[in-house]
């Protein structure tokens, strides 16, 4: 079990989703909303291009928090996020976080997922078994 202390930064998770990642995520998750997979549709509804699934980025946030706690999927007890900026394929996503508190064997971690200055997930809070 990983030792987590308040104030510690968790290891950064860096992922660059390729052009077809949203297609694979759609297949894996069952969410085929065309704004994620069809550039013509996305542009027709006013988006710059296809955008990443918010829940995919939440999946990366869950992965970063779980790996910070040692990697056992049972470690992640709660994850709460707000989706803000839109995520783009073919752009690096950096998930970073800081341990806010550790109490009764549970650590609360503040997490952010961003592409450059664009915070796609903010005010995220993960609770893991420390």
């Amino acid at each position: 079990m990983a030792e987590l202390k308040a104030g510690d930064a968790i290891p950064e998770l860096k992922v660059t989703p390729d052009k077809y990642l949203p297609h694979r995520y759609a297949g894996a998750s069952g969410d085929f909303n065309p704004i994620h997979i069809d550039p013509e549709f996305a542009k027709a509804v006013g988006l710059p291009n296809t955008i990443l699934h918010g829940l995919y980025m939440m999946g990366l946030t869950a992965r970063a928090a779980t790996e910070a706690a040692g990697g056992d999927p049972r470690a992640l007890k709660r994850l709460s996020v707000q989706f803000r900026g839109m995520g783009a394929p073919e752009t690096e996503i950096v998930v970073s976080g800081e341990v806010k508190s550790v109490e009764d064997g549970k650590a609360t971690i503040d997490v952010v997922a961003a592409q450059g200055d664009n915070q796609t997930i903010r005010n995220a809070e993960a609770e893991v078994q420390a």
Binding site: D31, P73, L79, S80, V81, Q82, F83
Partner: protein, 146 residues
């Protein structure tokens, strides 16, 4: 325009999803997880799981089907063209493993207006074949210009 709030408290019929080993692996690969407990039965049982275990966020796969009818309900009357997924929370209980039969119920927790936006908050509660709670999700959708 006043927002419609009649659907607060409304519940929708439960959906059931049988968790499969290959579907777990497919999801795990997409989010880049390489822990063998998500792919290999022996590794999963050696780690104390009943079978290959789903990553926590795999919950979207088995709980989302219950939410569909709630989001498209005429009484909820959400304007999809102006909707974004604003926030999400999951609280996990018993792990979901291959072979589990998971039942999910959806309920409308809140509908309210704030700063010209409509907030539609739904809850899903998923339980396994033994009646143990697997995950509880709170889904917040935001509609601009209500």
């Amino acid at each position: 325009m006043a927002i419609k709030t009649e659907a607060i408290g409304k519940e929708w019929p439960a959906t059931t999803y049988e968790v499969g080993k290959e579907k777990i692996g497919e999801y795990a690969r997409v989010v880049g997880l390489d822990n063998p407990v998500h792919f290999d039965r022996e590794a999963a049982t050696a780690a104390g799981y009943r079978d290959v275990v789903a990553p926590p966020m795999f919950c979207v796969v088995y709980s989302a089907p219950a939410l569909g009818p709630a989001m498209f309900d005429d009484e909820v009357a959400m304007n999809f063209a102006a909707m974004v997924h604003g926030g999400q929370e999951f609280v996990w209980g018993e792990p979901a493993c291959s072979g589990d039969e998971i039942t999910t119920k959806a309920k409308c927790l809140q509908i309210y207006e704030k700063d010209g936006k409509g907030f539609y908050v739904f809850e899903t509660v998923s339980t396994n074949q033994d009646g143990a709670e697997v995950v509880r999700g709170t889904w917040t959708n935001i509609v601009r210009g209500v």
